[in-house]
């Protein structure tokens, strides 16, 4: 298990755990990112991470991307 921020562009991962506060977790959830979602990493340079999830692209601040734990799928 490793943070979303450490993934590579093009990698496909499954979310295993979200360690953020209730507010951020709820926002992620409502935009389609919950434990068990499949993410495709579209962009991961030094800034926020862009993932493609459930048909849309979501940008996630780097700090938050450190708190989303993933596994390769």
């Amino acid at each position: 298990m490793y943070p979303l921020a450490f993934t590579k562009e093009g990698e496909e991962v499954i979310v295993k755990k979200i360690d953020a506060g209730a507010g951020a977790t709820q926002r992620l959830t409502s935009m389609g990112i919950n434990v068990g979602s499949k993410l495709k990493v579209v962009r991961n340079q030094n800034g926020p991470v862009i993932v493609s999830v459930r048909g849309s692209n979501i940008a996630i601040g780097r700090g938050l991307a450190m708190k989303i734990m993933c596994e390769k799928c």
Binding site: I60, G63, L64
Partner: protein, 679 residues
């Protein structure tokens, strides 16, 4: 009899296009009670029936995570509209259905409008509408609002759905609480146990018991509070505790149980209903390859912001000048045609110039909002915070603060209005508070006058240093307020990057008009009042009415209240070496900063040779301090009015106090250091 219909959907699903297509010209824009979230209500007529259409804020969910979500939820629960039209994006049905399920939980009478069908088609996404309808138990209308396809079908479906429900209700005459076939298999037993207890309380009748039960499992603070204050809490508490314990074992946390079950259902629906065929590279993917690249994207943002800035301020300039010209001639006409001098001056120098001051903002705002709406509708706007997030975070600001900050160099009024895209309230307040420190274009004439009079060799550098000072102070203030007042980090960026598309002119124009109108209505009165007040202080003195000649006679205005205020301020500014005329000019600057120049000319009785007079009245150090003071002190009346509108009087007064103190300290420092260095 008028039916009430609410439109709800995720952001970027084309909700406003549909709202515009359904409603005509009569759109009422206001705020939801108690908050600054915009409320739009329109009217529709179809087959002789009248419909009131309420546009709810764009939300992804109905938790109480943001003001938008609270507004939407409270409306649905308390107003109980005849029909809720849920607008979903056919290209991202998976995510959109999350809101749909929650609308079903709440028990709203629902109709699903599946927008962007044309785009889904292009992307190789096929949605089986009939099947979706059967699974959800809700009428589904496919449409492509931007191409005007399916709008008539939607209108018909709205009418039919409402009338069918009316008939059914007459027959059954009971609340059909289980009206939707969607169930959460792993949670149903718990939901039943809870709702059977909840049903016993008459006071909770306006809620759907199923909704309350689900929200209790989800640990929703708002619903928890309601239930804790109800009669049934004693009976319910042990049951709820037990349920939560069981769910914790299975899901880790009971909140996660509901989320997981919702998405399980959605996954199954999508599997049945959506077919994806091709996977070719889309325009959005190609554009994003470049526009969101760390290096190229950052470089490209500069020309984009520059264009936004240039378009807003240069393209609007001729229109502002025309308006200024019209109002100037109007003043002259009034002064010559009204014989009562007092009345003529009140109208011409007070009211007309006040209204003129408001209306000169009109073209600037119109062009700014046009440009912003254009960028928003194209999809590029969402990429800007993505690119700037890391840099802005270093100063305690959210990525979205970039746009208002850039706009601030033109005019702080539209800039502050542009902060509305920042969801987090603290982030937004902070972004607004630092904005007046960014040197707007109205301050340039002051710099130009003083730099020309006293620093003729280094004009450019001196003027540029003012802009730099503004930016540095703004960023330092942001850092300081973040540490001392808000004590939180900026909210994490979580933003959807929508598909790019060519903006629709009518959507852009309508958005522009609504925003400008909003400004004129709200800030207008405050500005006119401020201008009239300053007029009053100029033509009156302790000896009474001085006559409108004050504006041409420096000896006469020396007896006005403005002069007295200036003289009272002089001791305070003695360390900077400014005389009472300079201090009085600062009072006039409250109207708009560029007024300082005209006021100085009036107070010194100097016309064309103001530059010479200034060169004698100020030393280079006192002039530099004066320029810095003008940069920082007091937001102008228009800015103040907008701050008050956006975040309330308390923060507006705070901004005034902070900026006055900061201006004084900075001017004093410049004087002290200047005297030390240059004697």
């Amino acid at each position: 009899m008028e039916y009430e219909i609410a439109l709800i959907g995720n952001p970027n699903v084309g909700k406003s296009t549909i709202f515009n297509a359904l409603t005509g010209e009569n759109v009422y824009i206001g705020n939801w009670a108690g908050v600054t979230v915009e409320k739009k209500v329109g009217e529709m007529e179809y087959k002789g029936k009248k419909f009131k259409i309420v546009d709810l804020p764009g939300v992804y969910s109905l938790t109480a995570n943001s003001i938008d979500e609270i507004v939407a939820r409270d409306y649905l629960i308390n107003e109980n509209p005849d029909l809720v039209v849920n607008i979903a994006d056919a290209t991202a049905l998976e995510r959109n259905l999350y809101l749909t399920l929650q609308l079903m939980e709440i028990g709203a009478d629902l109709l699903l409008a599946l927008n962007k069908m044309d785009l889904a088609d292009n992307l190789g996404i096929e949605v089986d509408v009939k099947k979706l309808e059967d699974i959800l138990g809700v009428k589904v209308v496919p449409l492509s609002a931007s191409k005007k396809i399916g709008i008539e079908d939607l209108k018909e479906a709205i009418l039919n759905t409402i009338e069918e429900k009316r008939k059914k209700r007459k027959n059954v005459n009971a609340k059909d609480k289980d009206k939707y076939p969607i169930k959460y298999p792993h949670l149903e037993t718990y939901i039943k146990r809870l709702s059977s207890i909840i049903e016993k309380d008459e006071a909770l009748k306006k809620y759907n018991p199923r909704y309350l039960a689900i929200k209790l499992i989800e640990n929703d603070e708002y619903i928890n509070e309601i239930i804790k204050n109800s009669k049934i809490w004693e009976d319910l508490e042990p049951v709820l505790k037990e349920i939560k314990k069981e769910l914790s074992k299975k899901y880790g946390e009971p909140e996660l149980a509901v989320v997981e079950e919702r998405y399980k259902i959605i996954d199954r629906i999508v599997k049945d209903v959506v077919k994806k065929t091709s996977g070719k590279l889309t325009t959005t993917e190609m554009l994003d390859d470049v526009l969101t690249d760390e290096k190229i994207g950052t470089l490209l943002i500069i020309p984009f912001l520059w264009m936004l800035f240039k378009f807003t301020f240069d393209a609007s300039k001729p229109f502002s000048e025309i308006i200024q010209y019209i109002f100037a001639s109007l003043s002259t006409v009034i002064k010559t045609s009204i014989s009562n001098k007092f009345l003529a001056s009140l109208l011409a120098d007070g009211v007309i110039s006040g209204v003129g001051a408001v209306l000169t903002f009109f073209p600037i705002l119109a062009f700014l909002f046009f440009a912003i709406s254009f960028l928003e509708d194209s999809g590029y706007m969402a990429r800007i915070p993505f690119i700037m997030d890391r840099v802005m975070n270093k100063f305690g600001l959210p990525g979205k603060a970039v746009i208002p900050m850039v706009m601030g160099f033109g005019c702080n009024v539209p800039a502050i209005m542009a902060t509305r895209t920042i969801e987090n309230r603290e982030d937004r307040i902070l972004t607004i508070l630092i904005n007046p420190l960014l040197s707007c274009s109205a301050r340039l004439p002051i710099y130009a006058l003083f730099a020309g009079a006293l620093f003729s060799k280094y004009q450019g550098v001196v003027i540029l240093s003012m802009y730099a000072l503004g930016v540095i102070l703004a960023l330092l203030t942001a850092l300081m307020f973040r540490r001392l007042i808000f004590k939180t980090s900026p909210a994490y960026l979580i933003v959807e990057l929508p598909q790019y598309h060519i903006p629709h002119l009518n959507v852009v124009l309508k958005n522009t008009w609504e925003r400008v109108y909003d400004f004129l209505k709200k800030a207008g009165t405050v500005i006119v009042f401020g201008v009239v007040l300053v007029w009053f202080l100029s033509v009156y003195g302790p000896s009474g009415y001085l006559g409108d000649e004050v504006f041409n006679n420096p000896n006469l205005i020396a007896h006005s209240y403005v002069a007295i205020i200036g003289k009272m301020l002089t001791p305070l500014f003695a360390p900077m070496g400014w005389d009472w005329r300079a201090c009085s000019a600062l009072v006039f600057g409250i109207i708009a900063k560029e007024v300082v120049v005209g006021s100085l000319a009036m107070l010194y009785g100097a016309g064309e040779n103001l530059s010479n007079v200034i060169a004698h009245a100020f030393s280079p150090v006192s002039a530099y301090a004066f320029m810095a003071f003008c940069l920082i002190y007091l937001p102008c009346i228009a800015t103040l009015a907008v701050i008050k509108n956006e975040i309330g009087w308390k923060w507006a007064l705070f901004a005034v106090a902070y900026e006055m103190i900061l201006a004084y300290v900075v001017a004093l420092l410049i004087s002290v250091i200047g005297h030390f260095l240059f004697g």
